[in-house]
Symmetry: C2
DNA sequence: ATCGATCGGTTACAAGTTATCACGAAGACT
DNA sequence: AGTCTTCGTGATAACTTGTAACCGATCGAT
C-alpha cells in the first residue's frame, strides 16, 4: 500500500485509523474466529468508546467484507510474487499452503463457511479470476497427454471464471482441479479435522500434488 | 432409534421436547446458518419463554454439539445404507454429494469452519472412523496397480483413523483421497464459491470421480 | 391417599452485543 | 474570525446468552 502521499491530513488520519481497526480485527479473528468479532472490543482497544467506530465502518458486515477483500488480495499477491520469482506449480501450491497455515482463520474467512448476512463483493471475484489466471499460466508450461473428458468439453464454453484465458480447456481443468484438491486438504487441516487421525497432513498434501502433476 | 419403550413418562416428555428443540434449531440453521442460531427464538417458537430451554440443554454449545453428532450420524447412516444396498465407490460418492446438497448448512456445520467455543465430542471421531471404514471396504473391491508413494509408507504406521482396518495402505490412501477431493469440491460448491464461475459443479464432481477411479 | 422432593416453567435480572441518535468539541477551509 | 465538516461522546433501543429465585404440577414413596 504505497502511494498514499497527496492526501488531506484528515483523510490520512482516517485511513490510518481504519487500518488500526482492521489490525485489531485480525488479531481478534486470529484468536477467536470471525464470528466472535466484537466491534465494541475493538473500539475499547483503540481507546475510543463504542459508536465512534461507526464513523469508520458502517457496521460489522462492511468491516468483514473489507477483511475478506484484503485476505483475498493477500493471497493473490503471495501467489503472484511466487510466480514472478520463478515458482512452478509445485512452488505455487506450497506457497498456497504456507499462506493458509500462516493464519488459519484468515483462510477460513475467505474459503470457509460464509458469514450469514454478507455477500461477496464483485471485485472479489475479479481477484479470484486473477489468482486462477496465474495457476493457468503455471500449468501452461506443462504438457499433458490427457484424454478429453466430458468436463473438458463443458469448460470450453464456460471459461469466464478464468477471465477467458486462451489456454486449452484441459489446462483450465488442471488449474481448477488443483484448486479444489488443495482446498479439500487445506480446509480440513485448517479446521482441525485431521487432528486426531495421526498421519502427517504435509505428506498427504505432497502426495496429492504428485498425483496431479502426472504421477 | 427403536427400543425407547420402557421409559418413565417424564423422560419420554423430556426426550420429545429435546427433539422438538433440535428440529427448530435445524430449521434456523437451514435458513440463517449455524452462527445465527438463537435459543430465545427457538423457545419462543415452541411456546415457552427463554430460560425454560436451559432445562433441556445446558447452553448453546451443548445444543450445537448434539446437532453435529446427529448430522454426523445421519451421514454415516446414509453411506452405510447405500453400501448395504450394493452401491460401489461411485454410488457412495454420489450419495455423499446428495447428502451434502440436501442441506448445505448441515454439511458446513460438520465439515466447515468450526464454531469458536465448541470442541468435537469424542464419539464423533468414532462415527467418522466408521464412515471411513465403509469407504475403505468399498475400495477394497477394486484392484489398483499403484506405485507405493512415500505417503503410503507413512500410512502403514498411521492407520488408527481407519479403526486399524487391515486393508493395504494403498487402499487407505485411496479412501482418504476420495474424502479430501470430494470435500474440496462439495465445500466450495455448498459455500457458494462456484456461484459466479459458470460451469456445472456436477460435471466437475463426476470428472474428479472418474479421475480417481482409474481414468 | 397423602406427603415430599424433583422437575418444568415462569418472571426478573445481569452482562454482553450491534446500531442509531443527539449533542459538544475540535480541526479545516474560506 | 467565522463557518462547516468531521470526530468522539453518552444515552438509548432492541437484541443476545445465561443465572437466580420462585411457583405449580407431577411422580414416587410411604
Amino acid at each position: 500500500m504505497p502511494e498514499s502521499g497527496t492526501k488531506s491530513p484528515r483523510e490520512r488520519y482516517r485511513a490510518q485509523v481504519r487500518g488500526e481497526i482492521k489490525e485489531r480485527a485480525w488479531e481478534q479473528i486470529a484468536t477467536a474466529g470471525a464470528s466472535a468479532l466484537s466491534l465494541n472490543a475493538i473500539a475499547k482497544q483503540l481507546g475510543m468508546s463504542g459508536p465512534a467506530l461507526y464513523r469508520y465502518y458502517a457496521g460489522r458486515d462492511e468491516l468483514i467484507t473489507e477483511l475478506v477483500r484484503d485476505a483475498y488480495q493477500s493471497l493473490a499477491d503471495a501467489i503472484r510474487a511466487a510466480f514472478d520469482a520463478g515458482a512452478d506449480v509445485t512452488g505455487l501450491a506450497h506457497e498456497w499452503r504456507r499462506w493458509a497455515l500462516e493464519d488459519p482463520h484468515r483462510y477460513l474467512l475467505v474459503f470457509g463457511t460464509p458469514i450469514p448476512g454478507y455477500r461477496a463483493p464483485d471485485d472479489v471475484t475479479a481477484i479470484a479470476s486473477r489468482i486462477m489466471a496465474v495457476l493457468i499460466d503455471a500449468f501452461a508450461a506443462h504438457t499433458f497427454e490427457s484424454p478429453a473428458t466430458p468436463f473438458d468439453a463443458h469448460l470450453d464454453s464456460h471459461r469466464q471464471w478464468a477471465a477467458d484465458h486462451p489456454a486449452p480447456s484441459a489446462v483450465l481443468h488442471r488449474a481448477l482441479t488443483l484448486w479444489t484438491r488443495l482446498h479439500g486438504i487445506l480446509s480440513l487441516e485448517v479446521a482441525g479435522h485431521f487432528a486426531g487421525m495421526g498421519f502427517d497432513p504435509a505428506l498427504l498434501f505432497a502426495a496429492e500434488l504428485d498425483a496431479l502433476l502426472g504421477h
